[in-house]
Symmetry: C2
Subunit: 202 residues, 2 copies
DNA sequence: GTCGTTAATGAACACTGTGTTCACTTGTGG
DNA sequence: CCACAAGTGAACACAGTGTTCATTAACGAC
């Protein structure tokens, strides 16, 4: 039972890390060139100079490569840029207030090509829907204390959360597509105020 | 030049109308069953009992069938349910105000299965992006008189329009997915106020 | 450095879906 | 009634997917 668990959390074979990195880079580049839907596995392999069987030994599909990239893709935006995942527990900070969107916009700003590949007009809707439902959940948790328990209240809470998430996505995506001419701080502030205003009107 | 243009707007071969109608119905049913992305042309043909060559003599692809259905699909929501397509011309009614979203919600309510197939979680993003950019344009035209001509102003106008469109989509889709427990009139009113409030805070 | 292990290679394969063609049959409108 | 337009279904070429396997190369532990 006291067996060595091999603290190999970081000691992954160099070859694997290299392969995964190259595959991610190839995918990002190809998405920006021709749009996610039009990118084939074949093209990724050619661009990355990686064998077909190698690809399938690491990922099950194109979607997985996009979503499960070790640090390159989804994780960076989902990870610490996560706006208020915590539930609206009693006394939790920020309860009933809009989440802080600054980490999200900062992360996007730090990874423009990546962010555009995942969220922009050339991207597929794979990551889009992930982020959207993630935002919806986060926002709903923040504001649920403002709504009652009647059926109607539950509906409205859900609709306002969905609308707020769509609002944030709209801000984020159009800003990305313009290559971020406005500082992320301004975007986050405006975005937070807009969400707060939306719920105030509820 | 004064040639007869054959007022055959309605006199289309019965066979054609029947074929197109059956194909649309089959597609809608299949989308609701297994999601747009997972529906193949083959399945549509089997369900509709239509020959492969017949399909391709009418449509170029699955997407076209979804978007260009004569009256069955896109047109119904894009047509008269169109919220304020008109530009924000001087003196035009509704200038600087939020569009009236009632027709949109009413149309959706009148065609729940269709609307869910085109916009719901099972739908692809084909029609979604169409509607989103359509809404963005319509809203931008309504509010552009409130913004100045500096570069910054143009950016903000675009971002707020994108955010407002996302907001409307969020309301609409979550309401659709709940099978519309709230009357469309209420949704439209709340939606309009939310958009107006968003731009007021700008 | 040696050596057992692990990853990468690339070609072959079966499979599914797409879009086209064509000779043929059936339904329609005039 | 009949000329013509529409539908049929099978065959085809093609492109993409995901798997398998024998072979080669790189790794890292000692």
């Amino acid at each position: 039972m006291g067996r060595k668990v091999r603290e190999r959390m970081e000691t992954v074979d160099r070859r694997i890390r290299k392969t995964k990195r190259i595959l991610s880079e190839a995918l990002i580049a190809l998405i920006l060139e021709k749009g996610y839907e039009n990118v084939t596995v074949r093209e990724i392999l050619d661009r990355a100079n990686v064998g077909r069987s190698t690809f399938y030994s690491h990922y099950e599909s194109k979607d997985q490569l996009l979503l499960a990239g070790p640090q390159n893709l989804g994780v960076r935006i989902f990870g610490d840029a996560d706006p208020g995942t915590g539930p609206d527990a009693k006394g939790a900070p920020g309860r009933g207030e809009a989440p802080d969107f600054l980490p999200l916009f900062l992360h996007a700003a730090d990874n423009l090509p990546l962010a555009k590949a995942m969220l922009g007009r050339k991207s597929g809707d794979v990551f889009n829907s992930h982020l959207q439902s993630h935002l919806t959940r986060a926002i709903r948790d923040r504001f649920k204390s403002r709504f009652g328990k009647a059926k109607q209240d539950k509906f409205w809470l859900r609709y306002f959360s969905g609308a707020a998430a769509g609002l944030v996505m709209g801000f984020l995506i159009s800003w990305l597509e313009d290559d971020m001419p406005i500082p992320p701080e301004d975007m986050a502030r405006v975005c937070g105020r807009a969400v707060a205003g939306l719920f105030k009107a509820a």
